[in-house]
């Protein structure tokens, strides 16, 4: 039982191979434009490829619950066409995990008050939390989060961090982020993309070793009081 990509190349990514066992988590790091989101779209089947296998299926060739239950992708922005679709109706669409109710998922993210709001009027931070709630209700074997904390204020960021760190309902979380401190504190395995290629895949401990950080970031990233900070 694993998510696996072998020797995948397109215009942006070059010869990407790695795998994640079910139950393991992964953080995907890399500069802007190196292909992190492209990689996410390949993994979930939005960009067709036979190089991806997830628990025995090829996602771009599989439809219905067989795919939906295996892989889910949470984009950085909520995109809704209809002006009146409410948060609860939106969440009902991805409600595969019947052990959790929509009310519980909303409460978990402290956004119960948004339940009947139309999705289109949400702020970017609120819509990010709604998307996270949909990930919990969907509960795919592998959930890809693309920049899940990009638009959050500090207190909500803390809440989401706690959820990502301690949640045990999602079997595998793959998190794309620019936030090195978040990556460090989560402590998950790290995959580093550089110019479309995987240049690091290993433990958090090895990646966040100061000597390794210095080599990779040229001394601009420091570990201070058990936090990773950018020296400006």
């Amino acid at each position: 039982m694993a998510l696996q990509i072998s020797n995948y190349s397109n215009g942006i990514l070059h010869n990407v191979s790695f795998s994640v066992k079910r139950g393991e988590n992964l953080i995907i790091l890399g500069a802007n434009g190196v292909g992190k989101s492209t990689l996410a779209k390949v993994l979930c089947g939005l960009l067709p490829s036979n190089a991806v296998k997830i628990d025995g299926i090829i996602p771009s060739q599989t439809y219905g619950e067989a795919r939906a239950k295996r892989i889910n992708y949470i984009p950085p922005k909520l995109e809704i066409f209809d002006s009146y679709l409410q948060v609860q109706e939106f969440l009902a669409l991805s409600h595969f995990n019947k052990t959790l109710t929509i009310e519980e998922a909303l409460a978990q993210l402290n956004i119960t008050h948004l339940k009947t709001d139309p999705c289109q009027i949400l702020s970017s931070g609120e819509s990010q939390l709604v998307l996270t709630a949909s990930a919990l209700l969907h509960r795919a074997n592998y959930t890809l989060f693309d920049e899940p904390t990009a638009n959050l204020d500090p207190s909500r960021m803390k809440r989401l961090f706690t959820l990502l760190k301690h949640d045990t309902t999602l079997p595998s979380k793959l998190i794309i982020t620019h936030n090195l401190d978040l990556a460090y504190r989560l402590g998950f395995e790290i995959l580093y993309l550089e110019e479309g290629q995987v240049t690091f895949h290993g433990s958090s401990q090895r990646f966040f070793d100061q000597a390794h950080l210095d080599r990779r970031y040229g001394g601009s990233i420091k570990k201070i009081n058990n936090h990773v900070v950018v020296t400006l």
Partner: protein, 313 residues
């Protein structure tokens, strides 16, 4: 507000057949041999039903098209189905087969659908915008071909073609009504059957895909279903504009609810709107106004009024 609309519309549907040039006193209607009885059951009632079904198909079709193309300007005619029907009707008239007009119109509509989907099948990926553009290109092509037909036609033929493009709800007897009723039922069943997937289309292509939905297949099924139904409707009445564009928008403004909850309402109120328009067309002035003129005259000001009155959420 919604209840008032429902009450008013029901009243309208029930009384619509009794309004017209000829008064229909109740005591005469009870005699099955009377002229009044004939007028009501052979002309008025079929006409009201024709208007109701056609309005319903166009309005529901418009709603579905707007969601599938993610474009609020879409109408069921956007893909060129109506233009195809018009062109082939013109061909029938010029070739001297006026009586076979509806059959030609339906052929034109279906040919358009076949051409569209043959092209769509060649797209590498799912691309509704490209399909929309192909439909628009096809419409222009048909418009040019129609010009050629006008150019080749006599004055009388030109007049006949022109009258078709204005739309007409003239009908005698129930033959076509049964067909339209069946088509309407099939269309309603289709959107009801795909209701959940249709709801997912209200988000984004990506999100719907991630819920396991085969978005390309679903979109094509919905577009095909609507196009066939609209093809049948248009071949009987000509292209009646505006219904498919405004009724879905009016309902969204009135109900403040997502499109997936307006499927039945779209059909019902689309039908009511065309019945009302026809009532006005039949009873205003001396001669029958073309129905297409009335739908736009009635619909456009009301639509703009609603847009101005719209509360910002």
């Amino acid at each position: 507000m919604r209840k008032i609309f429902l009450l008013f519309s029901l009243l309208l549907l029930i009384t619509a057949p009794f309004f017209g040039e000829i008064d229909l006193p109740l005591n005469m209607l009870l005699q099955s041999t009377s002229m009044e009885h004939q007028v009501l059951f052979k002309l008025r009632l079929p006409r009201v039903l024709l208007a109701f079904f056609v309005g319903g198909i166009l309005s529901l079709g418009g709603l579905v098209f707007q969601v599938v193309f993610r474009n609020p300007m879409s109408t069921p005619f956007t893909l060129g189905v109506a233009s195809g029907a018009t062109l082939f009707t013109a061909i029938a008239i010029i070739a001297g087969f006026s009586t076979l007009g509806p059959l030609f119109a339906f052929t034109g509509a279906m040919l358009t659908v076949i051409v569209l989907f043959a092209i769509a099948a060649r797209f590498q990926s799912y691309d509704p915008t490209a399909l929309l553009l192909v439909g628009i290109a096809l419409s222009f092509f048909y418009a040019a071909a129609l010009m050629v037909m006008f150019y080749l036609s006599t004055l009388q033929e030109s007049y006949e073609i022109m009258r078709f493009t204005m739309g007409s709800l003239d009908v005698v007897g129930f033959g076509n009504i049964w067909l339209l009723g069946a088509v309407s039922a099939l269309l309603l069943w289709l959107v009801h059957y795909y209701h959940h997937a249709f709801q997912a289309l209200l988000t984004s292509y990506e999100f719907a895909f991630l819920q396991g939905i085969h978005v390309k297949k679903l979109s094509h099924i919905l577009l095909l279903g609507v196009s066939v139904a609209v093809g049948v409707a248009v071949s009987m009445t000509g292209p009646i504009g505006f219904v498919g564009l405004i009724i879905p928008h009016i309902l969204k403004t009135l109900y403040h609810t997502s499109a997936d909850k307006l499927l039945w309402q779209s059909f019902y109120y689309g039908g009511v709107f065309l019945v009302l328009s026809d009532l006005i067309a039949r009873n205003l002035g001396e001669s029958n106004l073309p129905i297409g003129v009335v739908t736009s005259f009635v619909g456009a000001p009301f639509f703009i009024y609603l847009l101005l009155r719209r509360k910002h959420i």
